[in-house]
C-alpha cells in the first residue's frame, strides 16, 4: 500500500457494477439513513452551541424551549469580537499554533528521514521510543516542569512561567512523536531506487530530502501539519498550568477562565467563543481534507 495508490484511490471514480446495482441502491439508502443518524449524534452539541450563542442571558435563564431562539441577538458575538482580550487570546493561539507547527515539522521531518532511511546506532529503539513518550501523560509532567523552569530562571535569568511563548517550547512534546511516526511511515513507502539514484548522481543527504522526499511526501506532510495544528490549538492542561495573566492566555483556557466567573457561567458567550475558536481548524480541514486522508493512511499503515 503505497502513498501513490492511496491518493489515487481517493481521486479515482468508483467503478460501476451493473449486475449488482439493485442491491447497491439499497446499500446506498441504508448508508444515507445511518449517516444521517450519526450526523445527528455528532452535530447536536455544535448546533446547540450555535442556538445558545444567539440567545441573550435572560432568554437562557428563562427555561423556555431550549432548542429554539425566540429573540435572536448577535450581542454575544459583538461583545466578544469587540473585546480586546478575546482578540488577544486569538492572537496568542494563532502565533503559538503556527510556531509549534513549524517547529514540529522541522524536527519530525529531519528525524523521520534519519530514522527511515539512514540507520544509526540505536535508531530502531528511538523509532519505537518516540511513540512511547505518549505513555507519559502531561498530568505527570507539569509539576516537575515548574521545578525545571525555576532552575532555568535561577541559572539563566530567563523567566518561563506565565508567558505564552513558553507554550511554543512545550507543545512539541505533544505533537512531535505522532508526526514523526506518520512521516517515518510515509518516507518508508517511497521507493528506495529514487534516493539511491540521486545519491549516485552526487546529491547530498539534505538535497535528497528537500528535492525528493519532501515533494513526494507532501500529502503526509500536510496530514502531520493538520494534526499538529489541531493538537496545539486544543491543548488545555499546559496553558492552564503555565499561564495566568489575561494577556498571556490562549483560546481554550482564556474562554474557560474569563467567561466563567465563580459560580456564574456566561453560557451565551462561552458558546460563542467556543464556536469562533473552532473556526480556524475547521476552515483548514475543509481545504486540506483529501491530503489529510491520504497522508494519515500511508503513515500509519507503514508505521
Amino acid at each position: 500500500m503505497t502513498a501513490v495508490t492511496a491518493s489515487d484511490a481517493v481521486a479515482a471514480p468508483r467503478p460501476k457494477y451493473g449486475s449488482i446495482s439493485k442491491s447497491r441502491r439499497w446499500a446506498l439508502r441504508w448508508s444515507y439513513f445511518f449517516l444521517v443518524l450519526f450526523a445527528i449524534f455528532f452535530l447536536t452539541p455544535p448546533i446547540y452551541m450555535f442556538i445558545t450563542s444567539l440567545k441573550s442571558s435572560a432568554e437562557i435563564s428563562a427555561a423556555t424551549n431550549p432548542w429554539w431562539v425566540f429573540e435572536p441577538t448577535l450581542e454575544n458575538y459583538i461583545e466578544l469580537l469587540t473585546q480586546n482580550q478575546y482578540l488577544i487570546f486569538f492572537r496568542n493561539s494563532a502565533i503559538v499554533s503556527v510556531c509549534v507547527v513549524s517547529i514540529t515539522m522541522i524536527i519530525s521531518v529531519l528525524a523521520a528521514f534519519a530514522l527511515a532511511r539512514m540507520k544509526f546506532w540505536g535508531s530502531a529503539t528511538l523509532a519505537t521510543g518516540v511513540f512511547l513518550t505518549y505513555l507519559i501523560p502531561e498530568t505527570l509532567l507539569f509539576i516537575p516542569l515548574f521545578k525545571t523552569f525555576a532552575f532555568v530562571r535561577d541559572t539563566t535569568g530567563i523567566e518561563l512561567m506565565n508567558h505564552w511563548w513558553t507554550l511554543i517550547i512545550l507543545y512539541p512534546t505533544l505533537t512531535v512523536p505522532f508526526c514523526t511516526w506518520i512521516m517515518i511511515g510515509y518516507f518508508a513507502s517511497i521507493p528506495k531506487e529514487l534516493d539511491e539514484a540521486a545519491l549516485i548522481d552526487g546529491a547530498t543527504w539534505l538535497q535528497t530530502l528537500t528535492k525528493i522526499f519532501i515533494p513526494v511526501a507532501l500529502p503526509g506532510l500536510i496530514a502531520a501539519t493538520i494534526f499538529a495544528f489541531t493538537v496545539s490549538w486544543a491543548q488545555f492542561l499546559y496553558p492552564l498550568a503555565f499561564t495566568t495573566s489575561t494577556d498571556q492566555l490562549v483560546l481554550p483556557v482564556g474562554i474557560v477562565t474569563t467567561l466563567i466567573k465563580g459560580d456564574v457561567f456566561n453560557w451565551g458567550q462561552i458558546m460563542t467563543g467556543a464556536l469562533l475558536g473552532a473556526a480556524p481548524p475547521l476552515i483548514i480541514y475543509a481545504f486540506l481534507m483529501d491530503y489529510y486522508i491520504a497522508g494519515l493512511t500511508a503513515g500509519a499503515t507503514k508505521g
Partner: protein, 443 residues
C-alpha cells in the same frame, strides 16, 4: 522594618481615620514594581474597584502595579498558587482561598505587623479567619474583603409563605435583629418537605464542590458532629455524626434527585430557573436573577441558617491576601495590603460587588450597601451576619488544617451523606469515613 514603632504609628493613623500612606515604602528599594494575583470577581465591575484602589495607592507611592485576576473556576487559582510555590516565583501578593495559607505556611511572609493594627481599628475577626489564617501564633495572611462570603440560605419569600407557612421576612426583618428562635433545623426540614410536595424542592447541593461541602459543614456543626477533633483524633464514630447523617437522609429525600452531582453553579440555576424555593448560597444567585429573571429576584430573601441542637452555624468562606516570602518587593506588598484593608477600601469593594464581598472584621458589617440593595429592599441586610446571631464556621474545622483541608477537598461529609442516603448502613458509612480519615493523617 522595626515592627513595634511602625505598628503604633500605623494605629495612630488608622485611629485618626485618615487614608493611610504606609510607612513601609519610604526606602528607595521599596519603590519599583509589584505584581498581584487577585481573585477574579464574577460581579461585573467588582474587579475595577480593586484596580482603582491599587492604582490610587500606586500613584501615591510611585510604584508600578501589575494585576492579574485569576479565576477560581476549575481551581485555576489553586493551580497557579501551587505552580508559584513550586517554582518559588510569581506574584508578590497572591489572593488565597481558605485552605491555602496553611498549606503554604512555610512560604508565607508573616503579617503580624499588619493584622495587629487592623484588628484594633476594625474590630476582631471571627474564629474561622483565625483558624485558617494563623499558624503557630503568627498571621500568615490578612483576610481579604473581595471573595470572602457567607453561604447562608437564600429563599423565595412567596413560595415559603404559600407552601410552608414560613414568613421569612418576619423572621429576618430588614433593619432590625432577627426573630428567628423558631427557625430550627426541624422547621427547615418541614419547610423543605412542604415545598417538595408543592413541586418546588429546596436546592441544597450534596456534591463535591465548595458550596455543597460548606453547607454540610454547617449542618454537621449544628449537631455538634465532628469528624476529626482539634488534636487530630478521629471522632467520626459518634452519636452526633449519626444524628447529622440521619438529618441529611431526611432532607435529601425531599431534594432534587441529582443533588449528589451539583456543582457551585447548580444551586444558582435551580433558584433562577424558578424550580426551587430555597438554596444555600451567597447573594450571587440573587444578583444574577436580578439581571436575567427580575421577577424571581424580587421574591428572594437572604437570611440566617436554622438553629440545631448545638447552635446556629453559617458557612463562612474567607479569602486571604498573602505575601510570598520569596517575593521581590515585600515591603511594598505589605503597604498595599494595609491600604486595601482599610474600612473605606472595604466599603468600596462591598459596594462594587453588590454586597457580595464580606470583610472579616466585626465592625465592618453594617455598610449601607447591604441595607439598601434590592429589590426587594433589604434582601441582603442579614447576609453579613450583622447581629452575630450565628457562628461562622468552616467545614472540616476544628481538625488541624492539614487534615481538615483534605476532609474539605475530598468532600467526606457530603459523601457520607450520599452513601447513607443511598441505603448504606450507618455503621458501614462511618467505617468508610474512618478509613478515609486515617488516610489523611499522612505527614
Amino acid at each position: 522594618m522595626s515592627g513595634s514603632r511602625l505598628s503604633r504609628r500605623t494605629f495612630q493613623r488608622l485611629a485618626a481615620g485618615t487614608a493611610l500612606a504606609a510607612p513601609f515604602v519610604r526606602g528607595a528599594h521599596a519603590a519599583g514594581k509589584i505584581s498581584i494575583g487577585f481573585w477574579d470577581h464574577w460581579v461585573p465591575g467588582a474587579n475595577k474597584a480593586t484596580t482603582d484602589l491599587c492604582n490610587e495607592w500606586a500613584a501615591k507611592e510611585k510604584v508600578e502595579v501589575q494585576i492579574d485576576y485569576i479565576t477560581s473556576q476549575g481551581n485555576k487559582n489553586r493551580l497557579t498558587i501551587a505552580a508559584e510555590a513550586q517554582a518559588r516565583a510569581g506574584h508578590d501578593i497572591m489572593a488565597m482561598p481558605s485552605w491555602e495559607p496553611h498549606d503554604k505556611a512555610k512560604l508565607m511572609e508573616p503579617l503580624d505587623d499588619l493584622m495587629e493594627p487592623l484588628i484594633k481599628a476594625n474590630g476582631a475577626v471571627n474564629p474561622t479567619v483565625e483558624y485558617l489564617g494563623k499558624a503557630d501564633g503568627h498571621w500568615l495572611v490578612v483576610p481579604a474583603t473581595a471573595g470572602s462570603q457567607i453561604k447562608g440560605p437564600c429563599s423565595r419569600i412567596d413560595l415559603l409563605k404559600e407552601h410552608a407557612g414560613v414568613d421569612i421576612q418576619a423572621l429576618y426583618p430588614a433593619g432590625s435583629p432577627p426573630k428567628a428562635d423558631a427557625w430550627t433545623m426541624d422547621a427547615y426540614l418541614k419547610a423543605a418537605q412542604a415545598c417538595h410536595k408543592a413541586g418546588f424542592p429546596f436546592g441544597v447541593g450534596v456534591g463535591g464542590t465548595p458550596d455543597s461541602v460548606d453547607t454540610a459543614g454547617a449542618i454537621f456543626s449544628a449537631f455538634g458532629a465532628v469528624l476529626v477533633d482539634a488534636k487530630g483524633n478521629i471522632t467520626v464514630k459518634s452519636d452526633t455524626v449519626r444524628q447529622a447523617l440521619d438529618y441529611y437522609k431526611q432532607l435529601m429525600a425531599v431534594l432534587p434527585p441529582d443533588v449528589p452531582a451539583w456543582d457551585d453553579a447548580s444551586n444558582n440555576k435551580w433558584l433562577i430557573s424558578g424550580k426551587g424555593a430555597a438554596i444555600m448560597n451567597p447573594p450571587s444567585a440573587w444578583a444574577v436573577a436580578k439581571r436575567d429573571a427580575p421577577k424571581i429576584a424580587e421574591q428572594l430573601w437572604t437570611h440566617g441558617a436554622p438553629i440545631g441542637p448545638k447552635g446556629r452555624f453559617a458557612p463562612f468562606v474567607p479569602y486571604f491576601w498573602g505575601v510570598w516570602n520569596f517575593g521581590r518587593n515585600k515591603s511594598a506588598a505589605k503597604s498595599l495590603l494595609l491600604h486595601l484593608s482599610q474600612a473605606s477600601a472595604a466599603e468600596k469593594m462591598v459596594a462594587a460587588s453588590g454586597g457580595y464581598d464580606l470583610p472579616a472584621f466585626e465592625k465592618l458589617t453594617l455598610f449601607k450597601t447591604w441595607v439598601e440593595e434590592g429589590p426587594p429592599k433589604g434582601t441582603l441586610y442579614h447576609y453579613p451576619n450583622p447581629y452575630n446571631h450565628q457562628v461562622l464556621s468552616m467545614a472540616g474545622a476544628p481538625a488541624p488544617p492539614k487534615i481538615a483541608v483534605q476532609i474539605y477537598t475530598q468532600a467526606i461529609m457530603t459523601k457520607m451523606a450520599v452513601r447513607h442516603f443511598q441505603g448504606e448502613a450507618m455503621e458501614k458509612t462511618l467505617a468508610w469515613a474512618a478509613s478515609e480519615l486515617e488516610g489523611f493523617m499522612r505527614t
